[in-house]
């Protein structure tokens, strides 16, 4: 396998323009002769499908939900970054680029990140034109707020429902193309495999979730926009349906998986309440604009928060990171929370929580102002915990939220399988080892609206693609494999539920591949996972049949893939003997407990190649060259 990032030559700021000019174009009249499959309908997939449809391609878009509007991008709360500098606070494309590279702990590709920052400004224009109701000032112009890892206000938002409004904007654009006949939408269809012919991506195999029909769809190019794999931990802020299946199956067909161990633990989530917990709920990072994080100074202090005097409180983020304070990046804030809880100073049931306190902000700005800014988040918190955050500080704890890793892609967002493009959270591209808040929405929409529609055209214009018939041996073989696997899952008729396996896998991953990782722990995980996988294939219970709506079967397929993928993650985490961003190896830390990077040995993106389920994957390295920023130790002090 050869990794060629195909980064254009020339100065950083000119690379994207140069690449766009070099590209071969598809004649407008010829576009309708090309079929493009887009899997996933979130911000990346929805915007790509809509834009490709507008350009005149024949698009088939698939999602497992009952409507494309329900993709998990909808749950993003806080906002979307753009280098508009509307606040006149010194922002620029260069600063957004620098903050993102630094925030990612220097493990992302410079050229991609710079392009992302360039495009960020067009995204806001596009969304406003669609009617996305961003927050505004009284003068009628757009409002901004701050997010972690930045000292400028560059985040655009729509209350605490920014993802929802951006997604509805792109869903509406998508439905407009459905009406125009350029996009055909297949909801309740789950991609279960990728079809490659002579090493080139030519289609997908899906299962119709209503009647179980296994169908093959052939095309000239395939785009995966299927999100991240945070649910490998069972408990995460992801939606219940989020899964690794599409990207993992593509990996098994030859697509390299980039940096799978780079996962983001978000510092502000509602703590776990009990064993019944089915998912975790995020409280937007934007709350850290006005909320102050603290724990009692004394261990085991179980007094009510109101009874703990100011002098007995430790505002540990403000203390340790005076210049960024409560707006330290996510990885740093999460680790700091874990640290104080490990010291026995955590609050709430089980001591796994810290306070996020709005008392000062309410005193300063009034309750109404806070309600206007965060009302829906406060309401959500109260619903879940039965506590009123206007009166009592919120209790929060870190939870798995986002995965920076994903399928490896080149500058054109194409994987190591020609014709297979990967966009949004599903690829590994722009966030390095840690994503800054409000950058996921930016990346999803940049990929879908403004990058992929160009690069896919170049691929189609420069490739000679023979027509593939539905009875091609390669197509038949994949179809048979998918059908066989479904039959096998149902035939086990074991004793344990899918969820019980998923929970157990989640515990292994959280303990050994979560916020703090050690070689010993990762090796233990690498022993435990195959054993659990074997038990799964002998003892899982999937009632019902394959030819009906069967939610247990859907889950079983996804968990089966997590049970294989988890090993790739642990292998990556084990091999990366350094700490960077969200990947914290206990053995590699500075004296004061900060991440200790090893640029001499690990300044590369790890791309893993599948060798067989019971064999370790093969490592390939894409060296990361920093020509425009200096590799420094990240400091937010």
């Amino acid at each position: 396998m050869e990794l060629n990032a195909r980064i254009p030559a020339g100065p950083l700021a000119e690379k994207w323009d140069r690449r766009k000019f070099e590209m071969k174009l598809v004649n407008p009249a010829n576009k309708r002769r090309y079929t493009v499959i887009v899997v996933g309908s979130g911000l990346a997939g929805g915007s790509a499908a809509a834009t490709l449809g507008e350009l005149g391609y024949k698009v088939q878009c698939f999602c497992f939900q009952d409507s494309p509007r329900r993709a998990h991008s909808i749950a993003a709360q806080g906002g979307i970054n753009a280098a508009k500098n509307y606040q006149n606070d010194g922002d620029s494309i260069w600063r957004l680029f620098y903050d993102t590279v630094k925030g990612g702990d220097f493990r992302a590709r410079e050229a991609n990140v710079y392009r992302l920052a360039q495009i960020s400004v067009n995204i806001i224009d596009q969304c406003v034109a669609q009617g996305v109701p961003f927050a505004r000032e009284y003068g009628g112009l757009l409002a901004n707020r701050s997010f972690g890892g930045a000292q400028v206000s560059r985040t655009f938002y729509a209350r605490g429902q920014t993802g929802q409004q951006l997604l509805l904007g792109c869903y509406q654009a998508l439905e407009r193309q459905v009406a125009a006949g350029t996009v055909t939408m297949f909801a309740r269809h789950e991609m279960l495999d990728l079809v490659t012919v002579d090493g080139v991506a030519r289609g997908i195999v899906t299962r119709d979730l209503l009647n179980g029909a296994v169908e093959t769809w052939l095309a000239d190019a395939v785009v995966l926009a299927t999100g991240g794999y945070g649910n490998v931990f069972y408990l995460s802020t992801n939606a219940k349906g989020c899964n690794v299946t599409s990207t993992y199956r593509a990996y098994k067909r030859g697509a390299a998986f980039g940096n799978p161990c780079f996962t983001q633990i978000h510092p502000t989530c509602i703590p776990v309440a009990g064993d019944h917990q089915s998912k975790l709920t995020l409280m937007s990072e934007s709350l850290r604009n006005d909320g102050r994080v603290w724990v009692p100074k004394r261990k085991g202090d179980h007094r009510a928060p109101g009874d703990i005097a100011e002098g007995e409180r430790d505002y540990y983020l403000e203390r340790k990171y005076p210049s960024y304070g409560n707006l330290s990046p996510r990885d740093i804030a999460s680790r700091a929370a874990k640290e104080v809880c490990d010291e026995g100073r955590g609050v709430g049931p089980g001591g796994r929580g810290v306070y996020l306190d709005f008392a000062d902000a309410i005193r300063r700005l009034g309750e109404d102002k806070i309600r206007e800014r965060y009302g829906n988040l406060f309401q959500m918190y109260q619903r879940i915990t039965d506590e009123n955050p206007y009166r009592l500080p919120m209790r929060i704890y870190p939870a798995v939220h986002y995965t920076m890793g994903g399928l490896w892609v080149d500058y054109d967002l194409m994987s190591t399988i020609p014709g297979l493009f990967v966009i949004g959270e599903a690829n590994f591209s722009d966030h390095g080892a840690n994503r800054l808040g409000a950058s996921a929405l930016m990346q999803g929409l940049a990929d879908g609206y403004f990058i992929l529609p160009y690069t896919i055209g170049d691929y189609l214009a420069t490739s000679k693609l023979e027509k593939v018939e539905a009875d091609h041996d390669a197509v038949r073989a994949v179809e048979a494999e998918v059908a066989g696997r479904t039959k096998r899952l149902i035939a086990i008729r074991g004793k344990r539920t899918v969820d019980s396996f998923h929970r157990e896998l989640g515990k292994i991953m959280w303990e050994h591949c979560g916020m703090a990782r050690t070689a010993e722990g990762l090796q233990a995980a690498l022993r435990a996972i195959p054993a659990l996988r074997r038990e799964f294939w002998e003892n899982v219970s999937v009632p019902g049949g394959g030819e009906e709506l069967n939610q247990a079967l859907e889950k079983a397929g996804r968990v089966a893939d997590f049970l294989e993928f988890a090993e790739v993650m642990c292998a990556d985490a084990l091999h990366r003997e350094e700490s960077c961003g969200g990947h914290f190896r206990v053995e590699y830390q500075t004296e004061d407990g900060e991440a200790l990077r090893d640029d001499d040995r690990f300044c590369y993106a790890a791309a893993w190649e599948y060798q067989g389920t019971e064999k370790p994957p093969l490592l390939h390295k894409e060296p990361l060259e920093f020509e425009n920023v200096h590799l420094t130790t990240r400091s937010y002090k």
Partner: protein, 257 residues
């Protein structure tokens, strides 16, 4: 907590359905309603029985996947709450709970509590958008919008498309859903060029799908998890009447009027 559940079970859209009784035991008041159903389902699967099928995804009240009639009320007792955000502390030990799917001709039951809401997608496709293709937008701040208008647009735009308004309406009307989208766009300058066309075509599609008409019961706003108000329906009436009276011939012809 221990509860008695009467749950609608229906194997397919063509099969007859019926209420089946289950006991939910050792339920914590901190569980969400869906987590309570998870517990019941785990028990069913362990006994080799088919779990209760229900749509759900984000479980934080924003994706709009979940939704069921709980004791005859869409999304259950508390106001402004989707089923996934309903917690068992809203019930008492020993309660009996009836759980049924949304009931509407335009939302056929697919299995158990799962219904087909694709009609909503088709209403949006009929005109619930601003016709602006990627790349053609002016600078975002080139168009100042009064804060009050933007806030009002956001109030309507919050709709999660769950279908509770239809389920709660005695006529199974989709007016609140349709009015929320039309209203969101009508509040903004970006939505003006297509405002008349949008009102006509979305309402027409609503009729084609088999939703009933609005007779102003107001049940929809009581059930709406985002507390979208029926005032938006008044605005849609207004736009619809104006469009009928003033729409140019080509718009009317397109909308089949």
């Amino acid at each position: 907590m221990n509860l008695t559940l009467h749950v609608w079970r229906q194997t397919s859209s063509t099969a007859a359905g019926k209420l089946v009784t289950y006991q939910a035991t050792a339920i914590s008041p901190d569980m969400s309603f869906l987590e309570m159903l998870d517990v019941v389902n785990e028990g069913l699967i362990e006994r080799g029985e088919l779990p209760i099928a229900f749509d759900h995804d984000c479980r934080e009240g924003i994706c709009g996947s979940c939704g069921m009639m709980i004791n005859g009320v869409a999304h259950g007792p508390p106001r402004g709450t989707a089923t996934c955000q309903l917690h068992m502390r809203s019930f008492r030990d020993g309660d009996t709970i009836y759980i049924e799917p949304w009931r509407a001709r335009a939302f056929p039951v697919l299995k158990d509590l799962v219904v087909d809401r694709s009609a909503f997608d088709r209403i949006i496709a009929a005109g619930g958008f601003v016709g602006v293709s990627t790349g053609s937008a002016p600078d975002a701040n080139a168009l100042p919008i009064a804060k009050g208008d933007a806030d009002a647009a956001m109030d309507a735009a919050q709709c999660i498309g769950c279908g509770a308004c239809v389920a709660a309406c005695p006529n199974a009307s989709a007016m609140l859903f349709t009015a929320a989208k039309a209203g969101h766009l009508a509040m903004l300058p970006q939505g003006q060029p297509e405002r008349s066309r949008r009102a006509l075509s979305m309402v027409k599609q609503m009729d084609v799908e088999g939703f009933g008409g609005c007779t102003w019961h107001g049940e929809c706003q009581e059930a709406c998890p985002k507390e979208i108000r029926i005032d938006w329906i008044t605005r849609l009436y207004h736009d619809y009447i104006v469009a009928n009276a003033t729409a140019r011939d080509e718009i009317a012809a397109e909308a089949g009027i």
